[in-house]
C-alpha cells in the first residue's frame, strides 16, 4: 500500500487522500482584470503535464487538510509535502 506523508497527520495510506491537480498560483483580482481571453483560457485549461517533478495539491480526507506535494510523476516518488503559504502563491506556477 502506498503511504503518503501528510504534513499534519504524518504517514497515512493513499486511500485517505484525494489528488487535487497541479498547483497553479491563483490570479489576484487586479491580475484577473488585466488578463486577456487567451491568458484566461490558458489558465483555465492548459497544464504542464510533462515528465518530471510536479508541484500539486493533495487533500487528506479524514482531517480535511489541503496541502502541497512535490512529486515525480514518472517514478511516483513524493519528494516533499508541506502546507501552503503565501510564498507558494508568489512563486507562481514554476514549482
Amino acid at each position: 500500500m502506498k503511504i503518503i506523508h501528510c504534513p499534519v497527520n504524518g504517514p497515512r495510506p493513499l486511500q485517505e487522500f484525494y489528488f487535487g491537480g497541479q498547483f497553479r498560483a491563483v490570479p489576484t483580482s487586479e491580475q484577473e482584470d488585466a488578463m486577456t481571453d487567451a491568458e484566461w483560457s490558458d489558465y483555465a485549461f492548459n497544464r504542464d503535464g510533462s515528465p518530471g517533478i510536479q508541484k500539486e495539491w493533495w487533500y487528506h480526507t479524514p482531517s480535511g487538510t489541503w496541502f502541497i506535494a512535490e512529486r515525480d510523476i514518472v517514478t511516483d516518488v513524493f519528494v516533499r509535502t508541506y502546507l501552503f503559504d503565501q510564498a507558494d502563491q508568489e512563486s507562481g506556477n514554476d514549482g
Binding site: F19, S41, D42, R47, D48, G49, S50, P51, V74, D76
Partner: protein, 414 residues
C-alpha cells in the same frame, strides 16, 4: 484460406513473406514524419499512401509496433457516445472497422457482440436515455432496455449486484458494439503501409523537433536528424513530451488505466457488459479469457505499473455482477497511459505551429477511433486543413471556449 494453409503446412521452407520489411537507415528527408508506431500512426501512414498518394513517409517508433495504448486497451469498438460530434465521428470509425479485415486482408477477429451500459440509478438511466436519443437521431443502433431484457440476454448477471451495489435499473443497449484483435489492427495497417512504400522505423526515438519561425523544419532522433516540414504526433500517453519539444501548451495530463484478464473459460459471455458506477467493463475474448478494465488511476502518473488496489477493486466488482466467478483466477494485469482532456474528447488536427499536427487526447477512447483517426489525420496532413469530422476536436477549442463535453467516454466517473 484453407488451401493456402495446407500448402504452408506441407512446405519445407517458411513460405510466408515477412509482415513488414526490415528497414535500412533513415533517409535525410521525408514529406511526412509520423511519431508513434501504434494503430493511429500506422493507420494515418496507410491512408496517406493509399488515399492521398503520399508515400515518402517515415513512421518512427521508439519501442516496437503497438507497444503503447494499441496493445493495452480492452479492444472495444462502439459508437454510442453522447455528443453529436463524438457519436458521428465514432460511427464513421465503426463503419470502417466492419470492413477492415477485408481491406487489410488480415483477420482482425472483429466480433460484433452487443454492448450494454448498465445504469444503477435513475440519474444514470436518464443519461443513458439521453445517449440513446442522440444516437437514434444520428442513425446509430442504440436503445434503452429494462433489467428483464438485460437478464434475458445475459442470464448470468446478478441484477441485485449481491446487495453490495445499487441494483440495475436498466441499460443502454448498442447491438453493433464489438471487440477486435487490437495488435492485428496495427500490424495490418503497418503491412499495407509498408507495401505502399512507407518506411517504418522501430527502435527510433524522437529526441527533439526543430521549429523555426513558427514552422516545423525537422526532427532529431537517436539515429540522426531528418528534414521534414510535416510532423504528426500520434503518441497518445507520451504526447506531453512531444508538445514540450515544440513549445505547445495543451490541457493534457496523463493517468494510467489498468486492465486484467482471467484464466480462459468455456464461452459463456457473448456480450460486452459495462457499468460506469462499478467502474467496470468486461467481455470474453476468443481465447475464453475475460478481459476486464477499470477506471483511471486516481492521480496523474506517467508509468505503466500495476497495482494490487486495482486488481482487488476490479475483481470485487466483477463478482458483484457475476457471482459465479468467485473461484476464477486472474491470469495477468497491466496498465496503459491515457492522455486525458478536460472534456473527454480527443485533440486532433492542425496546431498553431505550422507543419505540426496532433493526434492526441485519446484517453480511454483511442482504439475504437483507430481507422477514422488515421483517415481524417491523413486528409489533414495531405491538405493542411482539418477534415470536417475532426474540426470540433482542434486544440483551438480550449482558447475559443468551445469544449465538446463527452460524457459517453469509458471509465470516466460521471
Amino acid at each position: 484460406m484453407p488451401y493456402r494453409l495446407l500448402k504452408f503446412g506441407l512446405s519445407s521452407e517458411y513460405s510466408e513473406p515477412r509482415m513488414f520489411p526490415v528497414q535500412g537507415d533513415l533517409r535525410d528527408a521525408y514529406d511526412v514524419v509520423i511519431i508513434g508506431g501504434g494503430g493511429h500512426g500506422l493507420a494515418a501512414a496507410h491512408y496517406l499512401a493509399t488515399e492521398f498518394g503520399i508515400t515518402n513517409v517515415a513512421v518512427l517508433e521508439k519501442g516496437y509496433l503497438g507497444r503503447g495504448g494499441t496493445g493495452r486497451n480492452t479492444a472495444i469498438v462502439r459508437s454510442n457516445y453522447l455528443t453529436p460530434q463524438g457519436a458521428s465521428f465514432y460511427q464513421a470509425s465503426v463503419e470502417l472497422f466492419q470492413d477492415l479485415s477485408r481491406q487489410l486482408d488480415l483477420n482482425l477477429f472483429y466480433s460484433e457482440r452487443g454492448h450494454f451500459t448498465l445504469a444503477h440509478s435513475p440519474a444514470s438511466l436518464r443519461t443513458q436515455r439521453w445517449r440513446a436519443e442522440v444516437n437514434k437521431q444520428l442513425g446509430i443502433d442504440s436503445e434503452l432496455i429494462t433489467p428483464e431484457e438485460v437478464r434475458k440476454m445475459v442470464p448470468e448477471i446478478d441484477l441485485q449486484c449481491g446487495g453490495h451495489q445499487p441494483p440495475i435499473h436498466g441499460a443502454l443497449y448498442h447491438p453493433p458494439g464489438a471487440i477486435a484483435r487490437h495488435d492485428a489492427v496495427a500490424w495490418g495497417y503497418a503491412r499495407r503501409a509498408g507495401e505502399a512504400g512507407v518506411e517504418i522505423h522501430q527502435q527510433t526515438a524522437v529526441t527533439d523537433i526543430e521549429v523555426r519561425d513558427g514552422a516545423v523544419c525537422g526532427v532529431h532522433t537517436n539515429k540522426g536528424f531528418i528534414k521534414t516540414e510535416k510532423v504528426l504526433s500520434a503518441v497518445a500517453g507520451w504526447t506531453t513530451e512531444i508538445t514540450q519539444m515544440v513549445g505547445l501548451r495543451t490541457p493534457l495530463v496523463i493517468h494510467p488505466l489498468q486492465a486484467m484478464v482471467t484464466e480462459p473459460l468455456k464461452p459463456w459471455l457473448d456480450k460486452i457488459v459495462v457499468s460506469a458506477s462499478l467502474h467496470l467493463y468486461v467481455s470474453q475474448s476468443s481465447r475464453g479469457e475475460l478481459v476486464a478494465g477499470a477506471s483511471l488511476d486516481p492521480y496523474e502518473l506517467i508509468s505503466m505499473r500495476s497495482s494490487l488496489d486495482f486488481a482487488e477493486g476490479t475483481a470485487g466488482h466483477l463478482i458483484d455482477l457475476f457471482p459465479m466467478l468467485g473461484d476464477v483466477k486472474v491470469l495477468r494485469q497491466w496498465a496503459g497511459l491515457c492522455d486525458m482532456t478536460p472534456d473527454f474528447s480527443p485533440i486532433m488536427g492542425t496546431t498553431p505551429i505550422r507543419g505540426f499536427y496532433l493526434d492526441a487526447g485519446w484517453g480511454t477512447w483511442g482504439f475504437k477511433a483507430t481507422p477514422i483517426s488515421g483517415l481524417t489525420m491523413a486528409h489533414t496532413l495531405a491538405t493542411g486543413r482539418d477534415h470536417e469530422l475532426i474540426e470540433p476536436f482542434n486544440v483551438s477549442r480550449f482558447s475559443d471556449f468551445q469544449l465538446v463535453g463527452e460524457k459517453g467516454a469509458a471509465s470516466v466517473g460521471h
